[in-house]
């Protein structure tokens, strides 16, 4: 077993969600790192919701272009086959169900698949950006997050305590301990990290879930 940090484990497992030919939107932060683990030979087109398909790597120093950024406002490059379009066209392709997969970070997820990841009451609200559009419209919505918050409190809950980003919109959540799917408002354990016992997982998961007929080992 590779020795990697919790966050690396989450990113590596998330990369296994990619399939050849997918058009994929990756959220800002940890999800962006999934792009570094696209399997060799797999053709993935990354979308940036500010108006680009076919995101290339960061530019070399001195080759940055102020007119070419990703949704995180980082300088990027284009690839053969890249295309540019307006924000309206971008969200048209998102809402129209043309994006195969979005991978995004989450703050809380409920056992019914509700998602909260855009505001914490009492803290300054920065805005939802394009997150609310993506989570209700991508064909597959995969959330990645650490299983518990920094204080050790579960983030998989019976109900979200934070304001929602979307209702019953999450298809799958990947943490460092497990992979759960949401089907018809029910949460189902699909994969468990081999070093995490079934009892341990119950203890750190406040949400109610059932175990799939065959829970398999989480592999990265």
């Amino acid at each position: 077993m590779k020795s990697v940090s919790s966050r690396e484990r989450i990113v590596l497992r998330a990369a296994r969600e990619l399939q050849d030919g997918f058009y994929v939107n990756l959220g800002i932060g940890m999800p962006t790192q999934v792009a570094n683990h696209i399997p060799a030979g797999m053709n993935i087109v990354l979308e940036s919701e500010n108006g680009m398909l076919g995101i290339g790597p960061f530019p070399y120093e001195g080759e940055e272009d102020a007119d070419l950024i990703n949704a995180g406002k980082q300088t990027i490059t284009e690839l053969p086959g890249s295309s540019y379009f307006s924000s309206a066209d971008s969200f048209g392709m998102i809402r129209g169900g043309h994006i195969d997969l979005t991978i995004m970070g989450a703050m809380e997820i409920s056992q019914e698949g509700d998602l909260a990841n855009w505001m914490i009451p009492g803290k300054l609200v920065k805005g939802m950006g394009g997150g609310m559009d993506l989570v209700v419209s991508a064909r597959r919505v995969v959330m990645i997050m650490t299983h518990c918050d920094k204080k050790g409190n579960p983030k998989l809950l019976p109900q979200c305590t934070l304001p929602l980003t979307g209702k019953r919109c999450v298809h799958r959540v990947i943490t460092e301990h497990a992979v759960f799917d949401f089907e018809d408002g029910k949460m189902i354990l699909k994969e468990r990290w081999p070093e995490t016992s079934a009892e341990e997982l119950r203890k750190i998961t406040a949400a109610e879930y059932t175990e799939a007929d065959s829970v398999v080992e989480m592999v990265i």
């Binding site: 940036s48 919701e49 500010n50 108006g51 680009m52 790597p57 960061f58 530019p59 070399y60 120093e61 940055e64 272009d65 102020a66 007119d67 070419l68 950024i69 990703n70 949704a71 995180g72 406002k73 980082q74 300088t75 990027i76 284009e78 540019y84 379009f85 307006s86 924000s87 309206a88 971008s90 969200f91 048209g92 998102i94 809402r95 509700d114 300054l124 609200v125 920065k126 805005g127 939802m128 950006g129 394009g130 997150g131 609310m132 559009d133 209700v136 419209s137 304001p163 929602l164 980003t165 979307g166 209702k167 019953r168």
Partner: protein, 236 residues
């Protein structure tokens, strides 16, 4: 019909810039923002503006410079996280903010410019965004009604334009600019390069001149980069 003006200030004065106006400003972050128009609005000193723009610049650049002079009363945006003065004015109750999901914002502007008063979207159903709005079931799925959006004035940045107002954007600097060009009662476009009519390939035009009232060649573009990210030299 002469659309060409020499400066952003001249365009704004011709467009009747005044206190209390609602202005759409193109750009995503600091990418594709109408730098010359923003600077001229600051210099002309109008107040109580409602600004519709995806973001609000940073403290000392982009729309942020209109916050510093207290010229903005209300922002309609999807994300406003990069700005300390914004935070201060918002928490002090000096600045009103209407947060709109990015795709809904883009479509509201597109709809407004296209004569569509309202539309239904799945975005925001079951969240605070949908509170107080009509919810409707189409084919078993719930949608929220959102209104088309127009403005008194739109200020747009393109890469190249011609004397007829035809415009071409460059890379991701396109973003909200084309829709905003259609949704302002008056539209001012500033370009990095202005060419005589006939110099642009008609097949490559993004914004046809019909939407554009004034066009000017901007000057002194800073085009600041918000997050300079590089790959190491020698890497693939």
């Amino acid at each position: 019909m002469n659309k060409v003006v020499a400066t952003a200030a001249e365009a704004l004065e011709s467009a009747g810039l005044r206190d209390g106006m609602t202005i759409m400003a193109g750009g995503f972050g600091l990418c594709g923002i109408p730098e010359n128009c923003i600077a001229a609005i600051r210099a002309l000193g109008v107040r109580d503006l409602t600004i519709i723009s995806n973001n609000c610049g940073v403290d000392d650049f982009g729309l942020g410079i209109l916050l510093a002079t207290r010229q903005i009363r209300k922002m309609v945006s999807s994300y406003v996280g990069e700005n300390a003065e914004f935070e201060r004015q918002f928490l002090a109750g000096e600045l009103e903010v209407d947060l709109v999901p990015q795709g809904t914002l883009a479509e509201r502007i597109r709809a407004g410019g296209a004569g569509i008063p309202a539309f239904y979207t799945p975005t925001g159903v079951g969240t605070v965004v949908a509170e107080g709005k009509e919810i409707r079931d189409f084919d078993g799925r719930m949608y929220v009604m959102e209104r088309g959006l127009r403005a008194d004035l739109s200020i747009v940045k393109a890469d190249v334009g011609d004397h007829s107002g035809n415009c071409i954007y460059r890379k991701t600097a396109r973003n909200f600019n084309p829709m905003m060009a259609t949704a302002g009662e008056t539209c001012i476009v500033e370009v990095e390069r202005l060419v005589p009519t006939g110099q642009l390939d008609a097949d490559q035009i993004h914004t046809p001149g019909i939407f554009v009232d004034y066009i000017l060649e901007g000057s002194n573009y800073e085009k600041r980069i918000e997050q300079r990210t590089n790959r190491p030299a020698g890497s693939a």
